[in-house]
Amino acid sequence: EPEVTQTPSHQVTQMGQEVILRCVPISNHLYFYWYRQILGQKVEFLVSFYNNEISEKSEIFDDQFSVERPDGSNFTLKIRSTKLEDSAMYFCASSSDGFSGELFFGEGSRLTVL
């Protein structure tokens, strides 16, 4: 069964460092997403991406964040200068229909900022 894969599963970094989280969405999906979940809290929308551009972003997704689809398979989230409060689980998701709400999530990348 097709699945969304994310790497790394866990990354520990120092405050101020750049981090890149990688995702391989399901191959025939066209809509891509990043969500964040701080430990014990809700799943928060960060950004949606379609047709090689950002469709919508939340207030969390400030200038420190960027997304890219560098080739036909990968979808990345970059945090330029990490802060302590960026520590969270980051989930990539993909969908075949951007309006359906039916998302397929990866296993997540746990980011710990020290």
Partner: protein
């Protein structure tokens, strides 16, 4: 203010009991989804409800969409320890292909 309010936040029951969890909003949604999330993993889609008043069954799970498409419920019959997890409701909101999530109901089923 949460767009999707879920209740209860936490539920601990014995194996074999029935339960219902709720997802409410003041906004109309074109559809609502229910996901289940286990610790350390991503949410997994269980079902989508689209039509007001719709009822969908998935084995022991029954999902209902309110007539006005502002609320939904999930009923589990004869809960089992394997049902333990975080149940999230979600729905498409606004433009830009955005899906928002409720805070979830954390269910614990004791053997």
């Amino acid at each position: 203010t949460q767009l999707l309010e879920q209740s209860p936040q936490f539920l601990s029951i014995q194996e074999g009991e029935n339960l219902t969890v709720y997802c409410n909003s003041s906004s109309v949604f074109s559809s609502l989804q229910w996901y289940r999330q286990e610790p350390g993993e991503g949410p997994v889609l269980l079902v989508t409800v689209v039509t007001g008043g719709e009822v969908k069954k998935l084995k022991r799970l029954t999902f209902q969409f309110g007539d006005a498409r502002k609320d939904s419920s999930l009923h589990i019959t004869a809960a089992q320890p394997g049902d333990t997890g975080l149940y999230l409701c979600a729905g498409p909101h606004g433009g830009g292909f955005k899906t928002i999530f409720g805070a979830g109901t954390r269910l614990f089923v004791k053997a």
